[in-house]
Symmetry: C2
Subunit: 549 residues, 2 copies
């Protein structure tokens, strides 16, 4: 195995801007929090779900930066997180599902052992598909690790460019026994708590975050002994840790990159006692109130961070990127409410390529560069953040071993937000319903508003069939979206501008559009040699969409 | 609770030397490795035990620096480690025993629950003593935490002075649920693995260092997921982590303080497969060979570190301090051999105030300042390292909330080692047997070679009686040592110059000397209000030594 990325500076150091041009960057990422799960309305109207949540600090951030209202991630956690690390689309990296804690252990419910154990349910033996070959050990900064994507990770480049790189919270890029398990191998100089766990065993200090003889499993949260039994919720504990880690770079006036990845609001759905009562009083059921309290806990954390940066006098020099890793979980009964309806108006939720699974909150605050309180509607996707953050940091001409799919959003959020602000001021009507919602011309942003964004989930998520989740692929192009259902070999077509809920399949009405999008999606999957399941009966790969037509 | 030490710079920043005058400092501390447990002979002759071990890198270090041949620690781990952190003698800090993983849980076998559970043995209900009140939650950088010593920790002062402070390995200063549990609260900017654990659940990657459903308890090693199942011994894994953490400060030419605290050679006594065979072939029993392989693992780690610093071109600018936290464990049967004989010629071992429990290896390499391959015999004690390291780092006029007992050893190791080198060259006979062993005059070192060094263990170590360990105090003054046995209320007197094995009690021959030392010891314990056990029958405190005379 090559150890290039583990031993400090590579020979070809990237070109770096002067220190003064290097802003601090905080990437604040929330887990499993859906697009409508806050009082910030990313949609063109305020949806009923937005009224359920109290997130004043997310609103504060929205008032200071730009909202990217058509932002996408992958259906599940690891693919999004590794795309952020590498700039590679999940269908291209072959990290299309979440990584198990232990090495060489497929998380697929199709023939996979882990999901069965963890859910306690029986494996669906009637499945028609055999799981695909994919990079089930996740991402590796070291070459030659079986079933991993070998890639140069973002924080390594930032570290080499002089950034003080901090990891706090959930990592979940790789399985145990591989280098990708440790943030220290990814270019982080500080790590609090990040490892192979994709969720916390417990958020409660009363349960030592899972570190008790009764509760322990591989998901027990590490590095948190000081908080055991203190009554401090994990979200708050991580926040305190994150603020501590900023001491050194602020003292030394060194640019920092803080990747602050909350475990919340992933399952287990447990009360945050600071906030739960108001939601119960508002008539929510226990599961809904617990979840809402977890969302508000994250909001409080964001507010504490913003306050801290202001107190330290570095808020103006610090870019904040706020995002979540996939859509809200609409399948887990612990969240209360009505199953699969949690993300309305969006269809379905986490795990799915429908909007409920992949459309996510995304905001960027960048004082002096981004026009505040603006909205940009150009579709963007998680792998775009890789080149975006490097450009923000002034890192140019970098060498990476992977082929990057993402495009920098810097011009989109800077020039684009300013155009949007002007348009809103003039009351100019754009091609969107909302006056200040604005698709930025490609000539300004460098981003084609009609480029294809690919979503690919060739897996069975749970040990029971989920019709709108398992074995789906999709492509969004402009206002149009094609969904490929591998089980039934059906293609569906939606117009997101008129039908954000993906209720009306227009494929019969627009066969040419279907053909065009099927060709786009198939070309991508074929070119990337993307994982596809095998039909158990025939031993043959499931066909690509254009092979159906 | 005051958060002064958790929120960055205090208002009164300490005076700091220019960067060029700030050497890097590595504090390399080994656990439970005794004074004779290496091929480096700290004694005035090579003892049979020295021949059992193969530690070429410790020899390499000895050839580059000064050996402090009369160096002392406390009988057990936490008191030594908190003395290093604070400069306070254990009898003064009231941290006289090891801290339990969980808060408010006395580790005393007298009425304590933890030791009973962990050993599986029954509590000695016949004990005549009730355990003393002591700071059983350890050290706290925050005021107001029950049963802790509130103190300003060394790395906090170093961090405020501009040092990049790194913690790798075992911390063990405090119990869970208190701020002292986390190195991040002690002024470290990076922490790998340090928490409340005083030993590892397992050294073996095959057992995930204790992180398996079968093995897990609170001692399972955190932050090591990347090595699970890789065949990499914990000692090697921690070494790799330590070297990674040095990347950032070396890249940025910032002075670093690396506190590298191996879990080895603490129990569990497990083979290091890289080294064990030669010891079996040499005729050791299984336990002895396992232990010797663990010692050589640590030696390899030291060598890798020295190599790394040389490769990076910073070896000349880096002070290395090598030490262990207490004497070798002579009580645990897993180490093979003959119980209580492991530290010969020294009496007893870990837990005891006899020389086997408290006399420890100590070496300092400081190129250009310390004369290489020298020996200094002036008695020194762990709390001396606190002011020593601050002086090495050029930190002056610092404010601390505790009252520091230690004295800086800088003049002793610099001027003293040079005097020793000259004396050796001239073949000058000193007052020691060995020609190059040298007690440095106080006028040169600032250290009175006859100052009193106090050891205090008012505890029952194990749930069964250990005559030469439980409930003992001692004072060393010059060549003389007084041992106070609380159970029998007897005072023993030894001359260490002629009787390093403490075999011949001279108390009957030198009653005046006994009276003098008893007065010294009592004055210290009285002045510090040191913890003393209570006699169960009478409810009264065990008397101080001078109350017996």
């Amino acid at each position: 195995m090559k150890l290039k990325h583990l031993t400090g500076l590579s020979l070809l150091a990237p070109t770096v801007a002067f220190a003064a041009d290097r802003p601090n960057i905080v990437f604040f990422i929330v887990d499993d929090m859906g697009w409508v799960d806050s009082s910030v309305a990313y949609g063109e109207e305020v949806y009923p779900n937005n009224l359920r949540y109290n997130t004043p600090n997310m609103q504060r951030l929205a008032s200071q930066g730009v909202m990217l209202t058509n932002a996408y991630a992958c259906p599940v956690s690891t693919p999004t997180r590794t795309s952020l690390l590498t700039g590679v689309n999940a269908a291209h990296s072959h990290i299309t599902n979440w990584t198990s804690t232990m090495r060489d252990t497929p998380s697929d419910a199709t023939g996979g052992a882990v999901a069965m154990m963890q859910s306690g349910a029986n494996h669906d033996k009637s499945s028609r598909f055999v799981r695909p070959e994919w990079n089930l050990n996740g991402m590796s900064p070291v070459e030659g690790v079986e079933n991993t994507l070998y890639a140069t990770p973002l924080p390594q480049l930032l570290k080499e460019a002089g950034y003080y790189t901090i990891h706090v919270g959930k990592a979940h890029w790789a399985s145990a026994g591989t280098p990708g398990a440790s943030p220290y191998n990814m270019g982080y100089v500080v790590n609090v708590s990040g490892n192979v766990a994709g969720m916390p065993r417990s958020y409660l200090s009363e349960e030592n975050y899972g570190n008790t003889p009764e509760k322990w499993n591989y998901l027990a949260v590490q590095n948190m002994t000081e908080y055991y039994g203190t009554g401090i919720h994990l979200t708050e504990a991580l926040t305190r840790e994150a603020l501590k880690t900023l001491d050194y770079p602020i003292m030394h006036n060194q640019p920092f990159y803080l990747y602050f990845a909350h475990y919340a609001t992933h399952t287990p759905i447990q009360r945050d006692p600071r906030f739960v009562q108001k939601y119960l009083d508002a008539g929510m059921d226990e599961g809904q109130a617990r979840y809402a309290s977890m969302v508000e806990g994250v909001d409080k954390s964001l507010g504490d961070l913003l306050d801290f940066l202001e107190d330290k006098g570095v808020a103006d020099d610090t870019i904040i990127i706020f995002m979540t890793d996939n859509g809200g979980n609409a399948e887990n009964k612990a969240k209360g409410g009505v199953r699969f309806m949690h993300n309305l108006p969006l269809r379905n939720g986490k795990g799915s390529v429908y909007e409920g699974g992949v459309r996510v909150p995304l905001m960027v605050k960048w004082d002096g560069k981004v026009a505040p309180a603006t909205r940009v509607n150009t579709p963007v996707i998680c792998e775009d953040l890789f080149p975006t953050i490097l450009q923000m940091a002034g890192v140019k001409n970098y060498d990476v071993v992977q082929s990057v799919d993402g495009q920098s959003l810097v011009d989109l959020v800077t020039k684009g937000s300013k155009l949007a602000a002007k348009a809103a001021k003039r009351g100019q009507i754009t091609d969107q319903k909302s006056a200040n919602a604005f698709v930025v011309p490609q000539s300004v942003s460098g981003i084609d508003p009609s480029r294809s964004l690919v979503f690919h989930y060739p897996h069975q998520w749970k040990p029971y069939d989920l019709v709108d989740i398992d074995f789906l692929s999709a492509v969004r192009k402009g206002d149009w979206k094609l969904v490929y259902r591998m089980r039934t070999r059906k293609l569906e077509l939606y117009n997101l501008k008129t039908d954000i809920g993906e209720k009306n399949d227009l494929s019969a009405l627009y066969p040419e559009r279907v053909r065009e999008l099927a060709a786009e999606l198939s070309a991508k999957l074929r070119g990337w040699n993307s994982p596809m399941p095998t039909v158990r009966e025939t031993g043959k790969s499931v066909p690509l969409p254009d092979e159906l037509l």
